[in-house]
Point group: C2
Chain length 214, copies 2
């Protein structure tokens, strides 16, 4: 049985769960709370020296890390990863965009607001993250404002899963999606895809911090 | 003819040049100095709304951005991108690692040291970038300290090109590679691959700033 080590309210981890559910592929989920240091134990670091979840563990013990590499590996040979070279390239383009320009702003802002104390010095990072995150959302809006309905080429696929993860919870990071109508329509389209499951809500302590942050 | 819009002393741009040289594929290089705002003009933003180089332009005008997506697209069908599913997954794993954990520390530290004024407030970011960059280099060292000779699976490939770009100039970012002997050996192996070309040196003003930064 495929094993996923992941922290449920992490978008990067939820990507893998969402894909496996949509592929109808059985898996075991081992909850690993990265916010409590569970990815920095000697045992975990022996398997992923970069100390991050999600971590995919195959039947034979082989390990694969990096959420978007896991998505591509699991989706290979399915309609969720295009084989046409140009569509495939566009899929990768948006997945690298997600990890470089989108997640480091939107996911990190959400983490700071929900997983650090109200007096954390990291809260000083929020204004700059706002600028970067809105820039990323505007790039997505521009893509969708034309003919494009998806980020994975002509059809729904792994680039949509990758970008959905933190776009859907961007308000947790302080990003108002009102000004991005095409992004909101796309989020709704993703939620209507077969087998879709939402990301679990954060534990009450984190939800309370998110709600309390201006 | 394939056109690459790129800034020569940018590692992300040099990745594309190095691959094209090693594939023996003809291309035209259009120098685009991102440090002088040439990727933020209306004309450029119309083609890449994310305002970054490298940008690949095909004969028919189609545009592909994101350095590592460009590498995968150009290397498809060549020995530099493995087709074996597991080797391919490992290649992507290291390419996402490069863009998430390596480049944002090592390349950004190099940029701040060489492309901002000595009194820039951004220089306050350098200590944190040092920590992150050394963590990334240590993960690479751990991979190479075992049996692995490359990051693209069993053979040299696009993940090596991606990680070489800023690892080779890590000292520009203030990273002493003395403590990473396996990384240094791997850098030397990359330099011996057929068709290798080094990244052009920065212009004298930037080189002088790099030399002047402690």
């Amino acid at each position: 049985m495929t094993v996923v080590h992941g922290y449920s309210p992490s978008g990067n981890c939820h990507k893998v769960r969402l894909l496996l559910e949509q592929l109808g592929r059985p898996y075991t989920w081992i909850e690993t709370d990265s916010s409590r240091g569970e990815t920095r134990t000697p045992d975990f670091l022996a398997r992923n020296p970069n100390g991050q979840v999600p971590m995919l563990e195959l039947d034979d013990g082989r390990i694969l890390v990096e959420s978007n590499a896991i998505l591509c590996f699991l989706a290979a040979g399915t309609p969720l990863l295009p084989t046409d070279p140009w569509q495939h390239a566009q899929t990768l383009r948006w997945m690298f965009f997600e990890q470089y320009s989108h997640e480091p702003a939107i996911a990190v802002a959400r983490f700071i607001r929900g997983w650090t104390d109200a007096d954390s010095p990291r809260r000083a990072e929020l204004p700059a993250l706002q600028v970067r995150g809105h820039r990323a959302l505007a790039v997505m809006e521009g893509h969708l404002a034309g003919d494009a309905r998806w980020f994975s080429g002509a059809h729904y696929g792994v680039a949509d899963i990758a970008l959905f993860a933190y776009s859907a919870v961007a308000p947790d990071g302080g990003f108002d999606l009102e000004r991005y109508p095409a992004v909101r329509d796309w989020l709704a389209r993703v939620r209507r895809t077969p087998g879709f499951i939402p990301m679990p809500a954060p534990a009450p302590a984190h939800a309370a911090r998110l709600a309390a942050t201006d």
